[in-house]
Structures are given as structure tokens and as C-alpha cells.
Amino acid sequence: MKSITKSFAGVTVLDNIQFDLMEGEVHALMGENGAGKSTLMKILTGVYTKDSGIVEKLDQGGNMVQMEHITPKEAQEKGISIVFQEFNLLNNMSIAENVFIGREPKTKAGTMDWKKLYADTRDILKRVKVDKEPRVLVSELSVAEKQLVEIAKCLSYQADIIVLDEPTSSLTDREVDILFDLITELKSKGTSIIYISHRMEEIFKITDRITVFRDGKFVDTFKTADTTNEELVQCMIGRKLNLEKNTQAKDYKDKDVALEVKNVNVNVTLKSKPFDFRLHKGEILGFFGLVGAGRTEMARIIFGIDKADKAEVYKNGRKIILKSPIDAINNGIALIPEDRKELGLVLSLSVQNNLVLSCLKNLSPIRARKAEEKEIALKYIKDLSVALSSEEQAVEELSGGNQQKVVLGKWLAMKPDILIMDEPTRGIDVGAKAEIYSIMRQLAENGTSILMISSEMPEILHISDRVIVLYEGQKTLDAPVTGLNQEKLMHAAIGGI
């Protein structure tokens, strides 16, 4: 890809970008949120049309052929497949139909060959190690499972170029390992892979070369082996960062209990034992576990979304009844959901309107003080360094990471006493992550208690004061972070106590 330029309604998003991919390599695409990575990939796969520039691809005969204004279908036919950053699944349809959409097997009579469809899907699901029936509707999957289905779908094309746009942002280490095994296997068959991720350790583990963008401009391409974490971060964001394990973690045992949860039973069918836990004032409590461990379910119960028969929630020692999110919010509890598109944002509304959505209550019911709203919006846009052209821009036009920042901002604006964060840094670049950690730390110091669900061990170890690990709905670990390391977390996460 040479001299690619793309602009949306006058704003240049990609400026004279160049990018090359060799056969059988894993090439990382790096850059801050909004740098233009996803946009470039959408041009490659025919979702967007470029304004100018050239895209060439090796064909069967070994010649470079120029690709002009292709459609997604043509891209597929030319051997390019992609896992989009945002889910591109049909919730109303089964896993099998999603995986083989547009290429469903036909019987001789020309009808759908359901048997073959299910059999093929079962095979593919086995490869990504998802234990679900092909018939199950996608709407019933957890975010991580959806992500794996996306990967399965991408694999099923048997393309020679595979684009993975933040495939691991909602996966835990176990699934990441599965994915990496797959990538290694594909690589050995000569498949080229473009890999986008904000998780540094993955980049160094799996990729051969790295290309960095900044603000829609090409910065550099270099071999992974020739660089270090620090250099890469410097190259991306123009400054240095330090992400170590939380060494200043305090013990909050003696502090007031801000939230006490008793008898939560998150996985009724597995007959798991109910568990209790406490969250102290000013504490950051990390929740770790593998996909499907039940962390999200627990958060939903505390936020009043789901009703749990026996669960009891106490705030500051007083029992509270949570029938809906409204009750939770009135009690000062906020939840940053993991599925930002479906649960976190109203995509059609402006950034400002989204940011003030859950704190409107604190403002006048009549919009006399519009300036006040704008002030709030601008504050969080600045604090979280959301890249946008105006606070009146519709959220759906933001890059994935920036959308996530808006979700964070929305709940920070509510100024909760208890902040539950479900995978809060999903898709957020390293620089912004560091800023978010420091915001969390600041909040905690000012007395907010934070419950952070995360699948990233470094993140858990970096920010938490205490860590709880769940395995199939049961608590397998509850300890201050000081004595923990990655091995101990993983041990607990796979059921070892």
C-alpha cells in the first residue's frame, strides 16, 4: 500500500501512508487511538474507498496486481480476510450462520446444507477451542466468545492475508495462547498476518515487524527484534512510560468497608458455591479470571441488571435493594460495561451528549445551563485525551479506543462512590492507559472505591491493591497484590486454590 490518503468530510485521517506486508510474516500495526490503523485496514478490505494511493497484492501467478475500488466481497475473493475491531456479527443468527455467512454450503438441490454447515462450524470452533453448539445464537455469547467466533469466521476464509484488528482486547491469556498457536500455524503455511494490538507484550511475542503511525501519518517500519518496549512506546506516543507492578499497594483491611457483597452465585447451572467479598473505601480491587468465569455476571448483579436470588449487597454497612441500574446509580454505584457498543454508548448521539448522559440528573432538568454540560464534556475529553474533531461529533465516528474513553468519561462524570469497571482499558493505547491508571489512582485517593474486572494480568498487577480470582463462578483467590505474580494468578484462574 503506497501513499494512501483518506479523509472524512474534510478531516484527513490517513495522510500519504505506506505499508508493506511480506509473505508469511506477522506485521504489527501500532499507534495511538485514532492514529488511523483501523481505517487503513478498512480500505484494504474494501469497506472504505481510499481518496488516493495504490494498493497492490501478489496474485496466484506471482505478479503484483493493483486493486482498485474493491468491495468487501471482492477482497474476500482475493484472499484478504479481517477480524474487525468492532464486532461484525449478526446477533439474531446462529454461530454457524455467522461463520459461513455469504458462503453457506449448498446441497445438490441448491438449498442450505445445514448438516455440513454445522459440521464445518463445529470443526472451526474446535480450532479456536470454543465449546458451544453451532446452533447457538450469537446474542447469547459473552464478549470473549463473540471475539473467538469472529476469529473463527476469519479463519474459515482460508485467506492468504489475515487482518486482526485488536483481536485480543477482550480475551484472557488462555484464549490469547490459542490464538497465538493458530497464528504460528498459519504463518508456517505462508499466510501473512497484519496484527493490531495495544498490548505490548503480545507484539514482542508474536510479530516479526512493526509499523507505527501517528496522527494518520506514517512514522516508521522496523524489525521487532531490533527494538525494545521503551523505544516502541517512545516512537508511538513521543514519550516514555513505566508500567510496573503496583509497589505502593496499601492494605485496606482496617479501612471502612464501602461495599460488601454476600452470597453471589453467578453460575447457577454449574452448582458453584456462592461467595462473598468486600470492597474498602479508597481501595482498588482487581477481579481476574478466564473467559466465562462469571465476573461480568457478578457486576451485573451489583448494578441491578440481573436479579440474584440470594445475593445481598451492603453499602457502608447498610443493606441496599438493587432492582435496576437506577437504584444502583442512586446509591452511588457506577458500572462501566465491557460491551461499549451495545451497553455503553448511544452511538448516534454526540460525544457531549453521551458524556453527560448519566450525570444529567445532577444538572438542571431544563437546559438552562448548557455551558455547564459543555464544560463537563470538555473536561473529560481533555482528561482522557479523546481524539475528535468536535464534542458535537457523533460517537460512532470515533475510533474504537476513543469510544472506550467516552464510556469511561461518562461514568467518571457521574462521580460515583463505587466504580465497577469491566475491562475498562479495552482497546486503549498504552499512553492513554497510563493516564487512565493515574486517574483511577487519583479517584481512589479521594475516597472512591474501584472494582476493576480485567483479563490483562499486567494491568491487574499494576493497578490493584487487592485481587480476587474467579473460576467458574467460585472465588479461588482473594489476596493483597503485594504477594502475587502472574503464575499465582493463572494458577487460581484455572481452578487451583
Partner: protein
């Protein structure tokens, strides 16, 4: 799950299948709530009047709903797509008028049929083409074609019906195949075709895909425009058939016929479980919806409930039926 029969392919059924492990009985109950309501109505009317549950009356009832059902099959697909079609009533009137004219000129049932279907499909194609390529809401496109074809029918006829009492023409509405009225046979054929297309073909599954998330479908390589145009054309074809049946039943093409017909059809489709938001609905559900509405109209008239009270009772029963349906879905 593997124990579920292969034919449980429909969308609703897929939901159930996936939840099977949580409670098979509950799932069945949920699936069949509307069917139970339908059966309930049959039982109630059978108890209340002897005239109801006779082969003659049931065939009569099915003949009456045949046109709603034929148009309903196409409308279901359109609604699954997330679109809507307001034109069927007008198009039926137009097809009736033109079909009667063609029959008068040619005396050929076959040419009349082909011509009627062609007009219907043509209008459907135009609706689909403008909607898909112009990227405008189907509501607007079909609102426009609704007015345009009503207007043309009136202009063409000067407001007078085009009457053809010839057997060759009226047979489409009044003929029989054995003991079964021809419109009922046509209805059954269209339903079978509809179920086959939506459940057993790729085209059909892509309707659900586009209706569920048209962007995701497009990005997955489905030609959204082609699906849309295809569905509208097919639906138009059915509408053409229904228009011919209607004119044949009356022995005349009436420019004023079927005014507001589309609302009856849409109501049946929604009652059958489809959602105007798209992505959800089945032909089977629509058939149940059509039958419930047909049974209500037929039964209440047999009971000589005044037409005013009929409206009230129908309204109440429809809302109660859907409430029961929704509640049973939630509980199960």
C-alpha cells in the same frame, strides 16, 4: 440439542434450540404460545356457534384470509429486512384493474395470470430498486408508489370498475381444486415457497442477516442491495397474485379495492412475531397471525356481534394475545 429435529431451522426455533438445555418444556411452551391462543379461539368459537367448525365455514374462512396470507408472506420477508411496504393495497387494485382489462382483451386466463404477476413483480422491483439504490426508507418509497398506483388505477378507469364475469377470469377467485377453493391452494403454495426460501436457501438466510445488521452483512460480503431488490420483487409477485385473486373473487377490477389492506397484512405479520426493527420473524408465525385475525373476524360475524363491537373485541384480543405471548417468552 442434536436430538432436535432437523426441520427446526427457523429463526425463532434457533433461539429455542440454543436454550434447550435450560428447559426444554419451557421452550416449547414459549414457542407455541400463539399457537395455543389460536387453538383457544377455535375452541371458543366452536363452543359458541355450530356454524363455526364446519368444513364449509373453515374453507370459507381460509378463502377470506388467503389474500392477506399471500401478501403476508412477502411482507414478512420485507419486515425481516427491517423495511416496510405500504403499497400492496394499491398495487392489488392496479393489478386487478389491469388483469381484468387484459382478460377482456385476450380471453386468456394464462396471459392474465402472467401479466398480473409481471405487474406485481415489476412494481416490487421498482420499490426495491429505489429503496436500495437511493438509500431512502422503504416507508417513503412505498408510500409514494402506493399513491401513484392508486392514482393511476383511478385515472385509467375513470373511477369505474372493470367488470369481467367470465368464468375464465373469476376462476382465480372462485374456482376449486377438488373440494379446496383455488385461492386457498394458491395461499398454501405461496406459504410453502416462502418457508422454503426463508429457511432453506442462502438467499433466505441472508434476508435475516441483512435485517439483523445490514452493515455487518455488507462487510461480510453479502450484496445488501441485491437481497433487498430480490425480496421486494418477490413480494411484489405475490402481491400481483393476490390482486388477481381479489379481482377474480369480485368478478371485477376495482380501482378503489383493498384500500388500507397493507395495514391488515402488517398487523398479521407483527402479531406473528416479526419485529419492525428487522431481523426477526417467520413465515410460519405470520400464518398463525393471519389465522388468528381471520378466525376472529369470521367467528365474531357468525356470532352476529355488531361490527362496532367486533372492533373493540378484536383490539382487546390482539393485545391480550401478544401480552400472553411475551410473558410466556419471558418466563420460560
Amino acid at each position: 440439542m442434536q436430538r432436535l429435529e432437523e426441520f427446526n431451522m427457523s429463526n425463532n426455533e434457533a433461539i429455542i434450540a440454543s436454550k434447550a438445555k435450560r428447559g426444554r418444556k419451557a421452550a416449547n411452551l414459549r414457542q407455541y404460545a400463539l399457537i395455543f391462543i389460536m387453538i383457544g379461539l377455535f375452541v371458543v368459537f366452536t363452543c359458541l356457534t355450530n356454524a363455526f367448525f364446519t368444513p364449509d365455514n373453515l374453507l370459507n374462512m381460509f378463502r377470506q384470509v388467503s389474500m392477506i396470507c399471500i401478501v403476508g408472506v412477502g411482507m414478512t420477508m420485507i419486515i425481516i429486512l427491517g423495511d416496510i411496504d405500504l403499497s400492496p393495497g394499491s398495487v392489488m387494485a392496479f393489478v386487478g384493474v389491469m388483469g381484468a382489462t387484459v382478460y377482456k382483451m385476450t380471453q386468456s386466463p394464462f396471459l392474465t395470470l402472467v401479466f398480473s404477476l409481471a405487474i406485481g413483480a415489476g412494481v416490487g422491483f421498482v420499490n426495491g430498486f429505489i429503496t436500495a439504490k437511493g438509500r431512502i426508507p422503504a416507508f417513503i418509497t412505498t408510500l409514494a408508489t402506493m399513491q401513484i398506483f392508486r392514482g393511476i388505477s383511478f385515472i385509467y378507469t375513470g373511477g369505474n370498475p372493470v367488470s369481467v364475469f367470465d368464468e375464465g377470469f373469476t376462476q382465480f377467485g372462485t374456482g376449486y381444486v377438488g373440494a379446496i377453493p383455488l385461492p386457498v391452494v394458491l395461499m398454501a403454495a405461496v406459504v410453502v415457497v416462502g418457508i422454503f426460501i426463508t429457511q432453506y436457501t442462502r438467499f433466505g438466510r441472508h434476508i435475516y442477516a441483512v435485517g439483523g445488521n445490514s452493515k455487518a452483512s455488507q462487510w461480510s460480503g453479502i450484496s445488501v442491495d441485491r437481497i433487498k431488490i430480490g425480496v421486494f420483487t418477490l413480494s411484489g409477485l405475490f402481491t400481483g397474485l393476490a390482486g388477481l385473486v381479489m379481482a377474480a373473487r369480485l368478478g371485477s377490477g376495482q380501482p378503489s379495492a383493498a384500500d388500507g389492506f397493507e395495514m391488515d397484512v402488517i398487523a398479521a405479520v407483527i402479531l406473528g412475531g416479526a419485529s419492525l426493527a428487522g431481523g426477526r420473524g417467520t413465515i410460519f408465525g405470520t400464518v398463525i397471525g393471519v389465522i388468528i385475525i381471520g378466525v376472529l373476524a369470521n367467528g365474531l360475524t357468525l356470532l352476529d356481534v355488531s361490527s362496532y363491537w367486533q372492533q373493540v373485541v378484536k383490539g382487546l384480543i390482539i393485545v391480550v394475545a401478544v401480552l400472553i405471548d411475551t410473558k410466556s417468552r419471558k418466563k420460560a
